[in-house]
């Protein structure tokens, strides 16, 4: 390689006088892949997307879900997506910004969705995640709860669950707490 370095050395001097152009900002492979995901988004009718930092920051965006059926009909739920440069090696980080009474979403906004953690694979994409989030509202899952109490109510008394959801959606956080969420999950009895 030394011969090449010698050539380069000469070129560098020439370039210095000619005012060479250095490449500007680097786009990571993750950003490019995200660009593809976003440009191919096929959002369900119930879902919209926004980019708080403008058109050139795709790594941070918000998904707004307005379920058109099920317990959560009429609600509006905002999720923030944070995508790292290692995407799709790493899954996007998704949090629910809206306080919600839901068996698979806790009051801190953690979302229990398998493809966001243990089942994430680089072949999945943003569309898959958005689809998964929509599913959480049409088919809340009482078998893998994050909000234990909500899950128990959903399983044992769907009518009460429905009422709790309505109350929580009508009144925001206060009501979510008021429907009686205990903070410490209890052990499942056999």
């Amino acid at each position: 390689m030394l011969n090449l370095i010698k050539i380069k050395d000469k070129k560098k001097e020439q370039a210095a006088s000619a005012g060479g152009r250095a490449p500007v900002k680097k786009q990571s492979a993750g950003e490019l892949r995200l660009h593809k995901d976003i440009s191919e988004l096929n959002l369900p009718k119930s879902t919209s997307i926004s980019f708080p930092n403008g058109k050139d920051d795709l790594m941070n965006f918000e998904i707004i879900v307005r379920p058109d059926e099920g317990y959560y009909l009429g609600g509006t739920f905002v999720f923030t997506f944070q995508v790292s440069p290692s995407y799709p090696h790493e899954p996007p980080k998704v949090k629910c910004k809206t306080k919600v009474y839901h068996p698979n979403i806790d009051l801190e906004g953690n979302v229990c969705l398998n493809i966001l953690r243990e089942d994430w694979k680089p072949v999945l994409n943003i569309n898959t995640v958005i689809y998964g989030l929509n599913l959480l509202f049409t088919q809340p899952n009482d078998e893998d709860p994050l909000n234990h109490e909500a899950a128990a109510v959903l399983r044992d008394n769907p009518k009460l669950f429905e009422a709790n959801v309505k109350r929580a959606m009508a009144g925001g956080l206060g009501s979510v707490r008021a429907v009686g969420l205990s903070q410490a999950p209890q052990m499942q009895s056999l």
Partner: protein
């Protein structure tokens, strides 16, 4: 590394280099085609070649020493970290008194003290803080990192310098080779990346499997292991008890809190194995590290750098793995490039008139025989020029459609553009992401200054 101290002077210079000079001054049969042996080769190497070492940790300390003792005289080292006590079992350039100081600065100083004639410039900052131009001065970049993200960044920078000629052949003067090392316990790897001829980091990123993550509902409902209890405290309980307070893994109080919460939870569920040390290991994702593996992998990397630059022997082709758990296993695999790699691949050359608009450009892609891409979205160096979807972005980028590409690409004679759309592959239309090299007809390469002025 022979060590000088006050009473016994360092070996005299010619003596120290006699062995290396034998290798660099004599012709051989198993050498690179461009090897030009001469008694002055080491001097040429020392004066002409600038080497960047990325990372001044376990591998970085070893690399700096090995490279300095391999005849390289102009070195730079970049690392944003400061020295921690737990580094001292392997990062041999650091002492207890150095704890808290910049790794790059201390490492540079220590090696310069011991190897006369070597100049090492430390950079105490993040790799992203440097202008891209900073990286252009180096003939070779040697990586001693422990993160995929950082490797990926340096890889994209180094590959970004690579230019291809009109036959899609890499232009040799634009090559910026990398040597990358990594270790974990008794295992490690060393690889040589010559962009455009051997696979780059992105070509086979699948070599690094994603980290295992526990399901949140397991943590919340059915914890079974000590790690589950620790991750519960870390990922769920912390935010619940400290809303809005950022968790800092380097804050001993924070770590202590996680530990005691995890312990409480483990006791509640009858789970054993939560210790403070294990808590740190899980929360910080600590990778065990020992001096010997780092020494072995760094030595392999430094040797490859020496051979690659001087041509004094063949180089590894192209990925070496070391495993010392059961015996000493060295395996060399020859991985192949991804010819469509977005980072190191040539991409498709598109020639445009300076007057061509973005919308004309998108139309061209539909008809281009190598692409046949419809519904293209276009991005350039982090700027989204046009997005077909979603609607919000389409609206924001629509005004660009009528603007000449030459203007959107800021008057550069050549530029790299990435496009996404439906392209033909084996007769079927599939969604594709492609790299394009855009060249403007009749614009000289270094004419940016003149052209921008005319806008």
């Amino acid at each position: 590394m022979a060590s000088p101290d006050e009473e016994s002077p360092a070996p005299t210079e010619p003596e120290r280099w006699r062995d290396l000079d034998m290798l660099l001054s004599r012709p051989g049969n198993l050498v690179d085609a461009n090897f030009d042996p001469s008694p002055g080769l080491r001097d040429t190497l020392g004066s002409l070649v600038e080497v960047l070492v990325v990372g001044a940790g376990g591998l970085g300390c070893e690399l700096l020493k090995d490279l300095a003792l391999s005849g390289f005289k102009n070195l730079h080292v970049i690392d944003m970290d400061t020295i921690d006590v737990s580094n001292l079992n392997r990062q041999f350039l650091f002492r207890v008194q150095d704890v808290g100081k910049s790794k790059a600065e201390v490492a540079a100083e220590r090696v310069m003290e011991r190897v006369s004639g070597v100049n090492i410039v430390p950079h105490f900052c993040r790799i992203e803080d440097k202008e891209i131009d900073f990286y252009s001065q180096f003939s070779i970049i040697v990586l001693g990192l422990d993160s995929i993200e950082a490797r990926s960044y340096i890889n994209s920078v180094a590959c970004g310098f690579l230019e291809y000629d009109s036959d899609d052949k890499p232009i040799p003067e634009t090559l910026k080779p990398m040597v990358d090392g990594g270790t974990e316990g008794f295992k490690g790897h060393a690889r040589v990346i010559v962009p455009g001829s051997t696979p780059c980091f992105e070509c086979n990123i699948w070599l690094f499997p994603p980290q295992v993550k526990f399901p949140l509902c397991t943590l919340a409902e059915t914890p079974r292991t000590a790690a589950h209890c620790i991750e519960y405290a870390h990922l769920i309980k912390w935010n619940e008890v400290h809303p809005g307070k950022h968790f800092d893994a380097d804050d001993a109080e924070h770590m202590q809190w996680i530990y005691s919460e995890a312990l409480k939870r483990a006791e509640l569920f009858g789970i054993s194995g939560v210790t403070y040390s294990f808590t740190q290991g899980v929360v910080k994702n600590i990778i065990p590290a020992i001096a010997s593996t780092n020494a072995i992998v760094s030595a392999a990397c430094a040797l490859e750098a020496l051979k690659l630059i001087s041509g004094c022997s063949k180089t590894v082709s192209n990925y070496l793995t070391y495993n010392g758990l059961d015996g000493t296993h060295i395996n060399v695999s020859e991985f192949v490039r991804d010819k469509d790699c977005l980072v190191c691949g040539p991409g498709t050359l598109i020639e445009l008139d300076t007057s061509s608009t973005l919308s004309e450009f998108i139309k061209m892609l539909e008809e281009h025989p190598k692409l046949l891409m419809s519904r293209a979205s276009v991005t350039h160096e982090g700027e989204n020029l046009y997005m077909q979807s979603p609607e919000v972005l389409e609206q924001m980028t629509r005004p660009n459609l009528g603007v000449p590409m030459f203007e959107l690409l800021k008057g550069a004679a050549r530029a790299t553009v990435h496009v996404t759309g439906m392209a033909e592959n084996n007769g079927k239309k599939v969604s594709s992401l492609r790299k394009l090299r855009v060249a403007f007809k009749g614009v000289e390469k270094n004419s940016k200054m003149d052209t921008t002025e005319s806008f």
